[in-house]
């Protein structure tokens, strides 16, 4: 690990306007006159990986789009994803509200890198950053700042509407449901489409300015740079913090002015992620370190579960939410998720009558890997981790006891597709 104490790179601006942006970050270097792969090579050297949840190497994704473009796919489209699909995630909206121009710089740079002729920014309808982004776009167009047009579109805010293939479906006039298609080969209007999270694009805008070596001076060997984490639950100052990848969970919590109550476990990565016991607080926040212990960095969600909450109840609530947000397309998910949610609610009830947790474990394994998207896999991982981390809680439930009913996981009322 290279750096833990890390000064913010993305969240430096206090005011979202153009002048504050230029003061904080300086102008972008001039555009190359002819198509060039210099930017792609710099992104590759920086080791930038996608911050939307998958941590997939950005340069590899760009190459796939360019190859498809070259092989008859035509000019590419770049889509900036600010959908903050995970209910406990605030980072996309927070970043856009603070530094819209950094994200838009990154979007334009990504478009240049893959020789795209169209750029689209997707932000949920209900997002408070929408007017901020709209005025940032007006500022840019009045300055003639960008070599290609940027379109702002506002899809419905649902768990799956930010899923890459679902977002592309929506942009093509369909319902925002995942498909079996490959956006990098045939996405928006059938053209090769690069979909990147807005944080990834903002990081890219900094790599263009400061170079790969600077970027790598924060983060771990495998996951370079800084990253945004949405922290909530039992902390004194919930919100979004920027950390060097590899900063410990305890240090992240300290950045939020510490815990507000004793903590029994943490949810890492969101509802598509996994629970970890509080004893793993020294674990570095990186995709590799978290995965080695069954956790997930995902889209940077960290929720601290206080001692007076019940991990099984919270998991049951999250699985119900996922079941309701499913696309209702694939059988194992359509039937398996509601059944899994029902089992979780059953064992969430403290009952001296005998109950069977094997039903939940069985259903969890039944839905894993069998959908068009990763939603069922995420639910399965969440449940498996809960059965392990909250084993003592389950024993208590069998004795008719429960840790408590304090709810910390958000389950926003979003219209599902059912």
């Amino acid at each position: 690990m290279l750096t833990t104490a890390q000064r913010p790179r993305l969240l430096t601006s206090t005011e979202p306007g153009w002048h504050a942006h230029i003061r904080a970050h300086g102008p972008l270097p001039p555009w190359p006159a002819a198509p060039s792969n210099r930017l792609l090579l710099e992104v590759e050297a920086a080791g930038l990986r996608g911050r939307g949840g998958g941590w997939f190497p950005t340069a590899a994704k760009m190459r796939a789009v360019m190859t498809a473009s070259h092989n008859g796919g035509g000019p590419a489209v770049v889509v900036a994803n600010a959908m903050d699909s995970e209910p406990a995630s605030l980072k996309d909206a927070t970043l856009l509200a603070a530094s819209p121009h950094l994200v838009l710089d990154g979007l334009v740079c990504a478009a240049q890198a893959v020789w795209a002729q169209e750029a689209i920014l997707c932000l949920p309808q209900d997002n408070p950053a929408v007017p901020v982004v709209a005025s940032a776009l007006a500022e840019r167009s009045s300055r003639g700042a960008d070599p290609l047009p940027i379109r702002l579109v506002c899809p419905p805010h649902r768990y799956l509407s930010g899923e890459e293939s679902a977002l592309v479906q929506w942009l093509n006039g369909e319902e925002a449901r995942p498909s079996m298609g490959k956006p990098y080969a045939a996405g928006v209007q059938g053209r090769p489409t690069l979909v990147q999270n807005v944080e990834t694009l903002a990081q890219l805008a900094l790599i263009v300015r400061h170079g790969a070596a600077w970027f790598r001076s924060a983060g771990t060997q495998a996951a370079t740079g800084t990253t945004l984490v949405s922290v909530s639950g039992a902390v004194n100052r919930p919100g979004v913090v920027e950390i060097g990848v590899g900063t410990s969970i305890v240090e992240i919590v300290n950045r939020c002015e510490g815990v507000s109550a004793p903590v029994q476990a943490v949810l890492t990565g969101g509802y598509g992620g996994a629970w970890l016991p509080a004893a793993l607080g020294e674990l570095p926040w990186s995709p590799e370190d978290l995965a080695a212990h069954g956790g997930s960095a995902g889209a940077g969600v960290l929720v601290l579960l206080p001692g007076d909450s019940c991990g099984i109840v919270e998991t049951a609530r999250a699985v119900s939410y996922l079941a309701e947000q499913g696309a209702q397309q694939c059988g194992p998910c359509r039937f398996g998720l509601p059944a899994l949610a029902a089992h979780m609610h059953e064992i969430a009830q403290p009952a001296t009558s005998p109950f069977d947790q094997r039903g939940a474990a069985h259903l969890s394994s039944r839905i894993r890997g069998r959908g068009a998207c990763r939603l069922p896999d995420g639910a399965s991982r969440l449940v498996d981790s809960a059965l392990e981390v909250f084993a003592d809680e389950l024993s208590a439930h069998r004795r008719g006891q429960c840790s408590g009913g304090r709810q910390v996981l958000p389950t926003p009322r979003r219209k599902g597709l059912a």
């Binding site: 498909s179 079996m180 397309q329 694939c330 059988g331 194992p332 998910c333 039937f335 398996g336 039944r366 894993r368 890997g369 069998r370 959908g371 068009a372």
Partner: protein, 68 residues
């Protein structure tokens, strides 16, 4: 080596694949085919004829026998 693949969006759990190739395909509690790796399963040359029967039986064209 080839593999049997199911498109989970196309599949409606009609179950004709399991009827056509019972030794190869079993169904879950809701009637959807269970493949070894979720949506795909390696097929040995001995199983290839059964796999082709399953593919042909699907009224939704949800199954395919593809190179790995």
């Amino acid at each position: 080596m080839r593999e049997l693949r199911v498109d989970p969006i196309q599949c409606q759990g009609r179950g004709l694949c399991a009827a056509a190739a019972p030794a190869l395909v079993s169904l879950d509690e809701w009637g959807y085919p269970l493949l070894a790796d979720g949506t795909r399963e390696p097929i040995t040359s001995a199983d290839e004829r059964a796999a082709k029967r399953a593919v042909r039986a699907c009224p939704r064209l949800a199954l395919a026998l593809s190179p790995r």
